[in-house]
């Protein structure tokens, strides 16, 4: 024998329908929802529309992806591996630039050259 679904079960079924894109009125009717619970399906539909997908920040994803990639031994764990590559490339370029500037600065300071010459 099949037991009758409870109000909470009917509402859950209506929420399933709403989450699948069915309008609240049709969802409520299709599961035989009590009249008093029909506003709750409208609230469910509002919630579905309110919670937009929350996307992680690219920098965070690159950081976490890099940690997971290190743990798994695969760089392809990232959704956008290019971000990590670009981040690394920019970091390397900045490092090279800073080093080149330091070398250039030191080469223009006679004191340094003199000290080196006297070593």
């Amino acid at each position: 024998m099949t037991s009758q679904p409870t109000r909470a079960e009917r509402l859950d079924r209506a929420v399933d329908e709403v989450l699948d894109g069915v309008t609240p009125g049709i969802a409520a009717a299709s599961v035989g929802l009590d009249q008093s619970d029909r506003p709750l399906v409208r609230t469910a539909a509002s919630l579905r529309g309110a919670f937009e997908a929350t996307l992680v920040a690219p920098r965070f994803e690159a950081r976490l992806g890099a940690r997971l990639a290190g743990a798994t031994g695969s760089p392809w764990i990232l959704r956008h591996p290019g971000r990590l590559i670009v981040t690394g490339a920019v970091g390397s370029a900045v490092g090279v630039g800073v080093t080149a500037y330091a070398v250039w600065r030191s080469s223009r300071r006679p004191g340094v050259a003199v000290r080196l010459a006297h070593r």
């Binding site: 679904p5 909470a8 859950d12 709750l40 469910a44 529309g49 937009e52 929350t54 764990i77």
Partner: protein
């Protein structure tokens, strides 16, 4: 109609199972699961914690813990995503305990994330979101958890039960009460 038996909430097979088994053989395959769930785990954390940095921290801990525990994962009747969100739930519980109170930051920042090609429509929707999110903050934590897992992450009542260590029926009752409370708050 109302006498019709409810459909089985559990999917016939866990849609992630093949990827989980692949990742257990070769950890590099974990990337597919990570890509599939990183935004959703982050969304769960963000809507519960209300802070981007805390949500990122909880998301990071969740995936590192999941990767470390993946070999021990067994298909025991629930789904991989319920298992993953259970790990996230534990991380959130730790974060909330560390914070010392249930909800600290405002969820207004969520609204700022919304982008839209229709500015007028976006404004109205942003206002709706703000009202709903404030109403959500008034719910007891267990009801808020159910709402976020159901409407942000799309988990079934059965999966939410596995995450929160409640029965499927208890989750449905919590959902019913949460929607009733939200409807009443929004009518004030």
């Amino acid at each position: 109609m109302s006498g019709e038996p409810l459909r089985e909430a559990r999917p016939a097979t866990d849609p992630d199972l093949a990827d989980v088994l692949a990742a257990q053989r070769d950890r590099a395959a974990f990337g597919r699961l990570y890509r599939r769930y990183v935004d959703r785990v982050y969304g769960y954390a963000f809507y519960l914690l209300g802070d981007h940095h805390d949500a990122e921290d909880a998301t990071e801990r969740t995936f590192l813990a999941a990767l470390a525990a993946l070999e021990r994962y067994r298909d025991t009747g629930s789904t991989f995503r319920a298992w993953l969100f259970r790990i996230a739930h534990n991380q959130l519980a730790n974060a909330l305990r560390a914070r010392g109170r249930q909800q600290e930051a405002s969820l207004d920042a969520v609204v700022e994330q919304a982008t839209d090609d229709d500015p007028a429509g976006a404004l109205g929707r942003a206002e709706d979101r703000r009202r709903l999110q404030r109403a959500l903050e008034e719910l007891p934590e267990d009801r808020r958890q159910v709402v976020v897992l159901r409407f942000v992450d799309g988990l079934s009542a059965r999966e939410i039960g596995a995450v929160l260590d409640r029965s499927e029926g208890a989750v449905r009752v919590l959902q019913h009460r949460a929607l009733r409370d939200l409807a009443a708050i929004l009518e004030r």
